[in-house]
Symmetry: C2
Subunit: 320 residues, 2 copies
């Protein structure tokens, strides 16, 4: 097939497509078995479809109004947690990544869940989902694993629960300063030093994360968040408890970097009004995460190049 | 919840969300049981993401290039049929609908399948998919049917195969001229006159349909296509055999209304080159369709207003 930035033989590309499909099947099977309801969320949105960094939003003209392509369905999903409990969505996340490299695509499949309660409950579901995905591959995609030269034992060796370290321990281990973001090479170093297995890094500094991640009540300089790192792929799942208290959330939103970016683009607090109204009405403690499907596929394939992880890898150069 | 154009009580909206999720589950269960592979297709595309009418494409600036939000994944899916056989995708279809009414949304979930062989084979899978969706609702969503006042017997009465009439018979019945498109009121009249059950209308005139619908070899003024009409919703599934012969397809593309629109936007045949290359390499007879999920939900709910069919109905006025 032409028009793609990466050349691959047909049999390998077909095998990747089947692996990708099976991972989705494994995730959905877990969600169905555990009472999650799928919610269809919007993809052309206002600011509430943004993740963190408004600079990588694709903008478009929506009948004379400024709209964006959503990066996340998180806030939309969250609005259903108080009544439906566990919810999920699957769909494209759009990022205007201005560089062509092996780590970024301009769109990728994001699998998101939101649920009542706390980070511990959530981490159990993240492990459960990833484990289910791996079991589906091991059970049903043996031929494809052979075609792609996937080390089966490496996958068989994965067990739950996954190892957990705090952000503080991670930066001490890496010799970094408090407040540093973990870069790709840092993630790879952690992977190597912690047995090349899935690893949760928990409790990041408040200021480097999304505005509605819930502050730790004992240690308010960190949020109750965790990123799951996977071998070859690095950060593959981002997650946190959400701030569900209305007034606290407004304070956090206003002090966030995201809000400053929004104001520069001519936005105001009104852009978040529908979401703030949900909280005003009364929300409940809840938490959620986004699984980057391509990163998980990278981990399964054992490749550091995200362009090998899907049928139509799209970036700045390869639009078809 | 605020920010939506339609006011609905929370318990009704929650029930709609659960119905929508269950319909997706019923469709996917059918696809899995029948050997369909899910393929992740792109959403920011060039012209090959367009359905028919390039006037309703949302455009966006993709790093200085003109891109569009896809209306269909059809051509991308088709490229996998020669090797993977039956394939499917589920995702948002974007339409820049400049009117606010009860029939159109600016984005809706489109479930698409492509498979080897012909229209008869395809119609069997369309019936099978819709029937599976109905059975999932009847079996698992009794509480939600009660909340929404859905007539259970109406759904229990649906059996397969569905009734089929030709376009020619349909226009004769309606007193329309050859070449007329069926309007919403025509569809409703057909529904009423054919027992308020799902109805296939087959073999539409070539000139009113998508360029790659395969010409009937005995009657070249029609294509081997069918639309499935559903009570309350009207046209809910559009489908056809695809032209898989390279030279014939180029002729058809060049004579199409779509191509004239593309040229007006500055496009050329080159926009279709990756797809034409797939056919050049050698394709096989195949057919496919798109299920408009919201229309199927409308049919289940018994509502003529599409804005009641999903959690976040988006149109020109209700962007959140």
């Amino acid at each position: 097939m032409t028009g793609l930035s990466i050349q691959m033989t047909d049999d390998k590309r077909d095998a990747v497509v089947k692996i990708e499909a099976e991972l989705l099947k494994g995730a959905r099977a877990y969600f169905e078995a555990n009472g999650f309801t799928e919610v269809v969320v919007p993809h052309i949105t206002r600011a509430t479809g943004s993740c963190e960094n408004m600079d990588t939003l694709f903008g478009l003209d929506f009948f004379g109004r400024q709209a964006y392509l959503r990066q996340t369905g998180q806030l939309y999903l969250e609005s259903f947690v108080p009544r439906l409990g566990r919810v999920y969505c699957v769909g494209p996340s759009f990022r205007a990544e201005p560089t062509v490299d092996d780590r970024h695509l301009t769109e990728f499949t994001l699998v998101e869940i939101e649920l009542p309660y706390d980070l511990n409950e959530l981490m159990g579901h993240i492990e459960g989902t990833i484990f289910s995905m791996i079991q589906y591959i091991l059970k049903n995609k043996q031929k494809e694993m052979e075609i792609l030269g996937i080390d089966k034992r490496k996958l068989q060796d994965i067990s739950i629960p996954f190892k957990k370290i705090t952000y503080e321990d991670a930066i001490n281990h890496l010799g970094l300063k408090w407040g540093s973001d973990l870069k790709s090479k840092d993630e790879h170093e952690l992977m190597e030093n912690f047995g090349n297995k899935p690893l949760f890094v928990t409790h990041y500094p408040r200021e480097i994360k999304f505005f509605n991640m819930r502050k730790n009540r004992k240690k308010p300089e960190v949020v109750n968040s965790t990123d799951l790192l996977l071998p070859h792929a690095g950060e593959s799942v981002g997650s946190a408890e959400r701030e569900h208290e209305h007034d606290e959330l407004i304070t956090r939103l206003k002090e966030s970097y995201m809000f400053k970016q929004l104001e520069k683009k001519g936005g105001t607090l009104e852009d978040f009004s529908w979401y703030l109204d949900v909280l005003k009405k009364g929300s409940i403690p809840h938490a959620g995460c986004g699984f980057g499907l391509n990163r998980i596929t990278q981990f399964i394939l054992g490749t550091s190049d995200i362009r090998h992880s899907t049928a139509f890898p799209q970036n700045m150069e390869s639009l078809i």
